[in-house]
């Protein structure tokens, strides 16, 4: 897993959800562990798209359950 991408995803997740970066790890589930709701998830996807210059479709968004899922998707589509 690309450490730099992981760190950036963790930082963006923390910022969007108003939590500390060290509360986020690669196994964290956005919804179950970090308390995100559907609107938070959409906003986070917007931030990831901006940061990495990619597009994440609604279908793909639904598959991104954890930080690791997001990092992998970014690695594969960057």
């Amino acid at each position: 897993m690309d450490k730099k991408i992981l760190e950036t995803v963790k930082e963006l997740t923390a910022e969007q959800l108003g939590i500390e970066v060290d509360e986020v790890n690669e196994k964290s589930s956005f919804i179950d562990d970090l308390g995100a709701d559907s609107l938070d998830t959409m906003e986070l996807v917007l931030a990831l798209e901006d940061e990495f210059g990619i597009e994440i479709s609604d279908e793909e968004t639904e598959k991104l359950k954890t930080v690791a899922d997001a990092v992998k998707y970014i690695e594969d589509n960057k």
């Binding site: 969007q16 959800l17 108003g18 939590i19 609107l39 938070d40 959409m42 906003e43 917007l46 901006d50």
Partner: protein, 413 residues
């Protein structure tokens, strides 16, 4: 039989303070909260001044995550509501939750959010618009948020009447308790219009004072040299309760709400009617609703915006309703110190009116240096006054010709 309705809690964020004692002391000392706008570059705007909340810090009430989802009008409104609820000591337990109404409104809503998201749409396309855009912007969301915070499950809505929003919100909540629909109501208004789009819009109307070099003297209701209103931001929320229930739980009572009048000018979208007829109809309705005679009113907290038209037409309306008694009234304009809080202004001024009844003191109208001869009543130009007043009225007139008036009474057993 109709129920008696009392004010048991009050909370506010305003240009003259964020705590009730601080607000009252500022007003009694004649201190203006109007300043130069320092949040964005105002060099291109004709009006460069506003009444701003100082040292705003939401962290005791609103988490970082929540702040991202809330336009500032929502944050201000929630804080004022939570302060009012704490002040009242009312606990919204399961047995009363369905009998607590919430009507806390904004005249405009999240203008800053609208501006930012519109820029994103234009610059970067529809896919870049935030999913929080709509729930951050819509005016009614504030009452929704307060219900989520407090658990109040009674009637929940917003009443949007521009500069009369706060007054109508209180009036509608008052009626719900009076007619037995609910036992309590959290009511008021919140507005944060001092953003580039808001300032530009009001500047374009030539509605605002351009006395930019003397911010503290710019809001000068009833003065001959007034040149428009001063925009301001803030929120004010009151807790209303049915009297008997409030007494049983040992609540402190600040004042009784006894009358509510609403009317329309049916005249013009922004200008008040020259003879003040619509405003006078509203005042008379409020007096009739209170079941008193005009001569019993001691004090009017006026709409008093400092626009050339309002202060004259409001004076005419007062004379129409009160006749010879008009000269005996104490009248003041809180806006002379706060500026115009738009959708929050009626709620803030009701709060001030309630405190005035409780304390038997009325603040002065500052900046009346040359009183307009067409405004020939007693506006407390020379300083605060002490008197054991019993009945007071507060006026609010909104764009669209929408008038909201309340009558309050000093609380006596």
């Amino acid at each position: 039989m109709s129920k008696r309705v009392v004010i048991t809690g009050m909370g506010a964020l305003s240009p003259v303070g964020k705590e009730i004692d601080e607000i009252w002391n500022s007003l009694m000392n004649g201190e203006s909260g109007v300043q130069k706008i320092d949040r964005f570059d105002v060099s291109e705007y004709s009006s460069k001044i506003a009444g701003l909340v100082k040292d705003y810090n939401s962290e005791d009430y609103i988490s970082r995550k929540e702040q991202r989802r809330m336009d500032k009008f929502i944050q201000y409104g929630i804080i004022a509501a939570m302060k009012a609820l704490e002040h009242s000591g009312l606990e919204i337990t399961d047995d009363i939750a369905r009998d607590v109404a919430i009507i806390v409104s904004s005249g405009i809503g999240g203008m800053e959010t609208l501006s930012k998201q519109h820029s994103r749409l234009i610059k970067r396309g529809p896919k870049r618009v935030s999913p929080f855009f709509i729930p951050k912007m819509i005016s009614n969301i504030l009452s929704g948020y307060i219900s989520i915070r407090t658990g109040a499950k009674g009637p929940n809505m917003s009443v949007i009447t521009a500069c009369a929003t706060g007054t109508h919100s209180i009036g509608e909540g008052f009626n719900k308790i009076k007619n037995g629909t609910t036992k309590a109501a959290i009511v008021g208004g919140s507005e944060t219009p001092v953003v580039p789009l808001g300032l530009a819009g009001f500047c374009a109307m030539r509605a605002l004072s351009t006395r930019n070099d003397e911010p503290e003297k710019a809001s000068r209701p009833f003065d001959k040299n007034r040149d428009g209103f001063v925009m301001a931001e803030g929120a004010a929320v009151l807790v209303l309760e049915e009297l008997e229930r409030a007494k049983r739980r040992g609540a402190d009572i600040y004042a009784e709400v006894i009358g509510y009048g609403a009317s329309a000018d049916a005249y013009h979208i922004t200008a008040p009617q020259e003879n003040g007829e619509g405003a006078a109809i509203g005042m008379q309705k409020a007096i009739d609703d209170a079941g008193i005679e005009p001569e019993q009113i001691d004090y009017i907290n006026a709409h008093g915006t400092s626009t050339p038209l309002n202060d004259v037409t409001e004076t005419k309306a007062i004379k129409t309703v009160f006749g010879d008694h008009a000269k005996k009234l104490y009248i003041n304009s809180t806006k002379s110190m706060t500026g115009h809080l738009l959708g929050a202004t009626g709620a803030f001024e009701t709060l001030v009116t309630a405190l005035s009844l409780k304390k038997g003191k009325m603040h002065q109208t500052i900046n009346i240096e040359n009183q307009d001869p067409e405004c020939d009543l007693n506006y407390l130009a020379d300083g605060p006054v002490e008197d054991d007043i019993q009945y007071a009225m507060t006026n609010s007139f909104g764009f669209g010709g929408q008038n909201g008036i309340l009558v309050l009474k000093k609380y006596n057993e």
